[in-house]
Structures are given as C-alpha cells and as structure tokens.
C-alpha cells in the first residue's frame, strides 16, 4: 500500500516536473503547428529568427546579461559590506526589519510607487535607471542574506587573526573574504537570477526602452508567437539550469523571491 503511494507520487511528480520542459522544447521547435495536429513538425527556424530576424533577441539578451551581472555584483558587495558595518545592535530591530519590506512588496507595485521619481529625475527608460530600481529590491535581499552571516564565529576568527598580528586589510583579505566566498557566490547567483527573471519592475521603470530577455519572452507571448517565445524562454532557463548543475542551494532562495 505504502509503495503504491510512493510510485503514484513519483509518476505524478515526474509528469508535473517534466511537462513544462517538454512543452517549451516542443514549442521552440515548431514555428508551424496548426490545430489540431498533436505533434509539430520539427524546425529550427525559431532559433535562426531569434538571432537573425528583424525582432532578434540579441540586444535583449545582452541587456539582461549586463543588468544581471552588475545588479548581482553591486547588491552582493553592498549587502555584504553594509551588513557587516550594521550588525545586530547597531541598527534597531525595526530599522533592520524594514529590509523585508521591499521583499514582501510585489515588484510592480514598488515600481508604481517609484515611477514618478524616475520620470522626474529623467532616469526612467534608461539602463542605469532600471539597474538602480533593481538594486532597490536586490540590495535589501543581499543585506538580509548576510545578516545571518556575521556570527560570533566570524568575530572569533577575526580576533584569532588579529592576535596573530593581522592588520585591518589582512583581516579582510585573508580572513573575511575567503571565509565568506561561498556565501558571496550564493548571494551573487541569487541576486543575478532575481534580475534575470524580473519583469514587472523592469517594464514599468524601463518604459519599454530597455529590452531584456524576460520582456522579450513576454512580448513574443502577447504577439502570439509561441515559437519565438519558447526559444527565448529556453534562453531564460539556461542560466538557472547551469547554476543548478553548479549548486542546488543557489536556486532555493531565489525561488522564494520569484513568483
């Protein structure tokens, strides 16, 4: 009886998990798939359109890459350094809890609140503006991420280095940096993915002038161009799949953030 449940669960779960990948792969390979055909004819036309056509996705891909890399690096570094300076006790409980606020708020509503200021300052519709707006949600995330990092143990390791004769710079480069490296990498990947997947905030602050891959997927979808949408969607999935291969933990917190 118990093993029947286990098999049922595995089959159902396998179906639910595999189907999205299968359908998106099928869609990407089927520029022509008239109703009611069950299977599409294979073609890689969507892929060549993606790179060569009039609405090719290359600029969007590059924008996404630049954005996600810089947002990930800046948010991670800022969160790491400032959470160290503002450790427990330095920042009151409510001031620290405020960092959860942008996290709870859905990005598009946050963008609605910010939009006026961005337009007023002339930052709307620019890559820099979108980058700043994305930092508004990724920096608090990184800050919270590193709150748990600065434990008694880190302090003790620093002290051990100090009594062995390390000056401030040596404490940072020889103790903190290498000790924090796994956490830094994890936080970087997570903030990278938040930026990489982000749609609502980017579309509102970017005013449609900052193309990203997520925006491209959305656009192809609303233009009822499933093949291009799916091909671009596969590009969107590629980095997280790569990261999954590198390290599972990275995705977990990013998934808490997304949706």
């Amino acid at each position: 009886m118990k093993s029947l449940g286990a098999y049922l669960a595995l089959w159902l779960q396998g179906l639910l998990y595999a189907l999205p990948f299968v359908v998106v792969l099928l869609l990407a390979g089927m520029p022509y798939w008239p109703f009611p055909q069950l299977w599409p004819g294979w073609s890689f036309q969507a892929w060549s359109l993606l790179w060569g056509g009039s609405d090719n996705v290359v600029p969007a891909f590059l924008h996404s890459l630049v954005l996600a890399l810089s947002v990930g690096a800046l948010a991670t570094l800022g969160g790491f350094l400032s959470s160290r300076a503002l450790q427990q006790g330095q920042l009151g409980g409510w001031a620290r809890r405020w960092a959860y606020f942008p996290f709870l708020l859905t990005p598009v509503i946050y963008a609605l609140l910010l939009q006026y200021f961005f337009t007023w300052l002339g930052w709307g519709g620019s890559l820099g503006g979108v980058l700043l707006a994305q930092l508004f949600i990724t920096y608090p995330f990184a800050f919270l991420f590193f709150q748990g990092f600065w434990t008694r143990r880190v302090q003790d390791l620093e002290n051990a280095a100090i009594t062995l004769g390390a000056h401030q710079g040596q404490v940072f480069w020889r103790v903190l940096w290498p000790y924090a490296r796994p956490a830094l990498v994890t936080c970087f990947f997570q903030t990278f993915l938040i930026s990489w997947f982000e749609y609502g905030l980017t579309s509102v602050i970017g005013l449609g002038k900052v193309p990203t891959l997520a925006l491209a997927v959305f656009q192809y979808l609303s233009e009822a161009n499933p093949a291009l949408a799916a091909a671009a969607g596969l590009l969107l999935i590629a980095p997280p799949l790569f990261l999954l291969w590198l390290n599972k933990r990275i995705l977990l917190t990013a998934a808490v953030y997304e949706v």
Partner: protein, 249 residues
C-alpha cells in the same frame, strides 16, 4: 623577564566581571589558573590579548606597558577551547598564517612550518583541511599556529576542555614538552584541578573576578577553595576503607 598584570577591573553593564585582578609570571613558565565557569577567566585572557578593553589596570611585559598597544602588536596570542582554524586553509597554511602576515620569505615559511608540523606530530597532514581532522589534531594545529610567531605570552582558555580523556592527557604532555623546548611563557586557564597541577609551574585560583596566586604547590593544594583538599580526603578515605576491609577479622 617577567609578565605582570595589576588591578584589572571590568564590568558588563552593572555586573563586575574582573575586580582588581592581578598576577605575575616569570618568563618560560606556565601559570595555571583554576576556576569555575563564569569566574571571569575568559574575560581576563581576552583583556590581556587586547580583544576586550578593561576600565582600569596595567599589563606589563618586561617592564614595558602593553595596555595601549593594539592587539595585533601585543604578541599575546589567545587560544580558545574550540580550535578556531581558518576552515578554507589546509593544515600547512593555517600554521604558517602568522608568517604569511609578516610576509616572510617562502623558504623560511616552508622550513619553520615543516619543523613545527613534525614537532606537533602532524606529519603527512599538511594538505588536509580542518574539517578532515579530529578534535585533538585541530587543537594541535591551533597550537602550532600560535607558536610559530613566538608569542610573548600564550593565553590558553581551557584548550583541551572539549577533548576526550585520553587525547586530553596526550595533549597535556605535548604542551609541556613543546613549551619547555620553545621556552614558552603561558597562562593556562582550566576548571580541572588535576590539569592545573599537571601543566603548571605556578598556580592561581580565580573566583568572582578575583585572582589569588600561590607561592608554593603545597599552598595551592591546601586551599579548600580549589576543591583539592576535599578530593584528596575522598581518595584517602577510600583507600583506608579498603585497607580495613582487607584486614582479617
């Protein structure tokens, strides 16, 4: 040469932790400080190492005042119960850490670290990461990391407290052996009276932030505060009881 501490006072909030604590120790000697947990032992060592600040008091090494000297230049190395190794460095790199900070030539680092690794009985483990070591091995590495920079005074805070009985006694022997070979001056804090007797040349008892230092071994062993007289009476009693039982009726 002499290490001297006078009248250290420190409070955590309203709570006094150190109340005019003082001690004096000859060079190349080990002072055992016996005391129950919460008596202020760890705080005293951290104040001496410069990791915490005291409200008042003096720390003198060879007549030179150390209170104002920053922790990294004091040369007083603190060793805690938990061997806090750098988890991302292997045994060799952990031990040579202090030499790397001083930017010593590679040849010297290799030689001195190698010698110490051998003296510590860690041959063949240079490449191992801390996570792959046993508790005793980790404590050896921490010990080596401190020794390599020739500290003025080594401050040991219950260094063997987390080890099992056998490893513990091995480590005590190793500590004494290397201390005498390298001529180390040390403060050894413990709550185990036997350990205090074994490793020390001089003895002190600490309670509620006050430290009492003894002139002789006999004086230390006779002080009821240390619990030693009671323990000896227990063993003696047991021995006599056994003798009586063995006597033919």
């Amino acid at each position: 040469m002499k290490f001297e501490v006078r009248d250290i006072t420190k409070h955590y909030g309203q709570q006094p932790v150190l109340r005019g604590t003082g001690l004096s120790l000859k060079a190349r000697r080990c002072l055992s400080i016996l005391g129950p947990s919460g008596c202020g032992k760890s705080t005293l060592l951290k104040v001496l190492a410069g990791l915490e600040t005291a409200e008042s008091g003096r720390i003198l090494f060879d007549g030179q005042s150390l209170e104002k000297v920053p922790a990294r230049r004091r040369g007083l190395v603190y060793l805690s119960q938990e061997p806090l190794l750098f988890p991302y460095l292997n045994v060799f790199e952990n031990i040579s850490f202090g030499l790397r900070l001083q930017k010593r030539p590679a040849q010297e680092i290799r030689q001195r670290t190698g010698e110490l690794i051998e003296a510590l009985g860690l041959e063949g483990m240079s490449e191992k990461m801390p996570a792959a070591l046993s508790g005793g091995q980790r404590q050896r590495v921490a010990f080596g990391r401190a020794l390599i920079i020739h500290p003025r005074v080594l401050l040991l805070d219950e260094p063997f407290g987390a080890l099992d009985a056998q490893t513990r006694s091995e480590m005590q022997k190793l500590f004494m052996q290397i201390s005498s070979r390298e001529g180390i001056t040390s403060l050894f804090v413990t709550h185990d009276a036997r350990e205090a007797l074994v490793v020390g040349h001089q003895w002190a008892f600490m309670e509620k932030g006050r430290l009492r230092q003894y002139e002789t071994t006999a004086a230390f062993m006779a002080d009821p505060a240390t619990g030693l007289p009671q323990e000896m009476r227990f063993w003696q009693g047991l021995q006599e009881e056994q003798k009586q039982n063995q006597d033919p009726i």
